[in-house]
Symmetry: C2
DNA sequence: GTGTTTTACTTTATTTATGAAAGGAGTGCA
DNA sequence: TGCACTCCTTTCATAAATAAAGTAAAACAC
């Protein structure tokens, strides 16, 4: 399905998706139009879903990175889900999981105070276990 | 530090980082050169760290998305860390955390079989708790 | 209040990249 | 051998990026 050139294209675009087609072509030993056609194909196949930027969260004042495992008390998750919708600003990802909880939240907060506020509000809807990220890697 | 135009720029680039500066300019009501200068500034400030692609993992055959909480037995984490380095293909993120474990791993595997192989190997170095992602959101 | 500097922008002109079209090389197949 | 298909290159018209110059408004010194 994907040959080595395609894999190289994905790798180069992962590192820098704003390469020009000419630059990308040079990296994978193709001309601009050739690599452009391949990228279009990868988009059509849905392998490339989109193009995004990497933002430094600390520079935006988001200093606290937390994972919160949710254990809902009630079988009706709707109140919890509605609450979450009101807190979208802090939520990066929200996964439904099997294992030690019902959901896993990945969040970023400006401060421990805001995290504390969030947890107090959350506690009306669910129990939780908190993990704070100290470091990546 | 950031005005509304900058926030709009970050939002638009998060949705599509391959916009031309001319298109981006139209969205935030600036000319190409003006928005180009702002983006360059955001890069210099380290707010924009880079440009990446969103890849559909399932289309690359990565069907199993898992979070693994690591509880190391020994105080010497080095064997575990070396083991991880040999398994880089599966690791998306590796966080050092406070809370219910020492580390949190975010991984993607082609299949439950590969996940099982990974866990059996992992078990020589650490205890773990496994959460498998059923769904995002 | 006046003159100066700074900042952020627009306009213009040159350079560079994109994208469409045509053509060629290699592969599979009847 | 001849045909169809895929994937590529080359060429060229169009569009975008970028550098440079000029403008307008705000900040500041005196």
């Amino acid at each position: 399905m994907l040959d080595n050139t395609d894999k190289n294209i994905l790798e180069e675009l992962s590192k820098n998706s704003r390469l020009t087609m000419k630059e990308l072509g040079e990296k994978v030993h193709l001309t601009g139009p050739a690599v452009s056609a391949r990228v279009a194909k990868l988009e059509d196949q849905g392998i490339i879903e989109g193009y995004a930027i990497k933002i430094n969260p600390a520079k935006l004042g988001l200093f606290v990175h937390a994972f919160i495992t949710i254990i809902t008390q009630s079988t009706n998750h709707q109140p919890y889900l509605s609450f979450l919708k009101s807190q979208e600003q802090y939520i990066i990802h929200h996964y439904k999981i099997s294992g030690d909880g019902c959901y896993l939240l990945e969040c970023r907060f400006p401060s421990n105070e805001k995290l504390n506020d969030f947890l107090e509000a959350l506690n009306h809807y669910a129990n939780y276990k908190l993990s704070i990220v100290i470091n990546e890697k």
